[in-house]
Symmetry: C2
Subunit: 158 residues, 2 copies
């Protein structure tokens, strides 16, 4: 039978106790998992490496040259005002440039520079290595399953 003491302190062994209620929530587990992956990403890319969102933006500019900032913001799921600093950083590093689009003087198409393209390919290799290492306790199939399940959640985007 369990103890009946009203003043059960239970402060011993905190580190080993599970937290049943929280552990059942997908949201809580997503957050905790993301914190780990993101921290390892930053460690892998180093002090002057890309932050995750900057890497993502560069990836899209390399893959979709001439994307507009509005289009890029939409793809990343953030406000276009929030994209300005990211584009500033990438342009400041000489990895992309803002170019005029003939026919619409409001928009500035984003194109990767040669340096931007090679930097991206290098960074992508580092990111792949980071995920391979960090997630080496997941099989290839498990990783594919995880992507599928996360994709089902992401189906609620927009």
């Amino acid at each position: 039978m369990a103890s009946l003491r009203k003043t059960d302190r239970r402060t011993e062994d905190e580190a080993h106790i599970e937290a049943p209620d929280l552990e059942e929530f997908i949201g809580y587990n997503l957050k905790r998992a993301y914190v780990i992956v993101q921290a390892d990403f930053r460690r892998a890319l180093g002090e002057d490496g890309f932050a995750p969102r900057v890497f993502s933006a560069l990836s899209l500019v390399v893959q979709y040259p001439n994307v507009t900032q509005s289009g890029l913001a939409r793809m990343l799921g953030i406000e276009r005002s929030g994209l300005v600093a990211i584009v500033d950083e990438l342009e400041g590093r000489g990895l992309i440039k803002r170019t005029n689009v003939p026919g619409d003087r409001r928009v500035q198409a984003l194109v990767p520079t040669a340096k931007g393209k090679t930097s991206y390919v290098e960074a992508r290799a580092v990111v792949r290595a980071h995920e391979d290492r960090l997630l080496s306790n997941l099989s290839t199939e498990e990783k594919a399953t995880l992507l599928t399940l996360l994709g089902k959640i992401r189906s609620h985007e927009d």
Copy 2:
């Protein structure tokens, strides 16, 4: 054969184009999925409802009464300085209280009030309903699989 034009603009159809490189990364998908779940959590709990981290803290205090702030911070994976505002909010709402621990005057054990316990049970029901609704396109088995896979990532905690 694909187009050979060097100046291929490709700005049309942005909304429908996939982003192959990014989509293969677990970290990117985790982030995008978490943003959706977290936003729906906040919508479900409403204007004056708990923020996710406050809900998590209350959950742990209810389940582990007399936990210390340091212990709680460790469980949540954040610095104890960051917990002060969370505990302030919960105490300010009359849901938990800081109590003296005889034998160690440095620590303040956290205990839920009666109101805190009932508020938690109610909030937990709302959170469960939010996840059930949002994740209704995942089967029970898929949700269990997802928790297992996220748990494998979380095995890197500490």
